[in-house]
Symmetry: C2
């Protein structure tokens, strides 16, 4: 369990995973999330997610040479983690906003 | 969800919650965990857990005026979060050690 937490034990990491799970792909889409992730932290976390095999780079469909990100199988397997955090927050933390509904993506 | 992550988005926080879930109560028991949490971080995380209503101080049964910690209902409700992190680690991270078995405490 401590190995998993080395990768995941960071609020920004899980928020980026949530954005990926919602189908967001481009750097600017992550930046636009309401939590306001700083761009230097976003770059770092995306790099860590790729290094750890949770996300991968994909070419964007816009014809330019830019790329986006998507979850790998290992990354998609994090859904129960995000759901359990969301459920706990809804039950115990007043003011929790649901940014990932049960049926999303 | 982001409110929950403000509290939980830290590997040491979840490791301390796991120790509490295993029935550990005293400062020195947390220090003895194999992850080797630094004592200044441990003090800080225990204080945050109490402030956020996840843990509470309890008198120790040894007659001295010292105290230990235990989970509140809100803290015990984190079990599915820890279990989902553990399950993901076992499935996807080689070398994950099981420090909380399904039937523990």
């Amino acid at each position: 369990m401590s190995c998993s937490l080395d990768i995941l034990g960071d609020r920004w990491t899980l928020l980026v995973v949530r954005d990926l799970m919602l189908g967001r792909s481009r750097f600017k889409d992550f930046v636009a999330s309401p939590e306001g992730i700083p761009t230097n932290i976003l770059s770092d976390r995306l790099e860590r997610l790729v290094t750890n095999g949770i996300a991968e780079q994909v070419p964007l469909a816009d014809g330019a040479k830019r790329f986006g990100y998507r979850l790998t199988d290992k990354g998609r397997a994090l859904r129960p983690v995000l759901e359990s955090v969301r459920d706990w927050g809804l039950a115990w933390e007043p003011g929790t906003r649901v940014l990932m509904k049960p049926g999303d993506a």
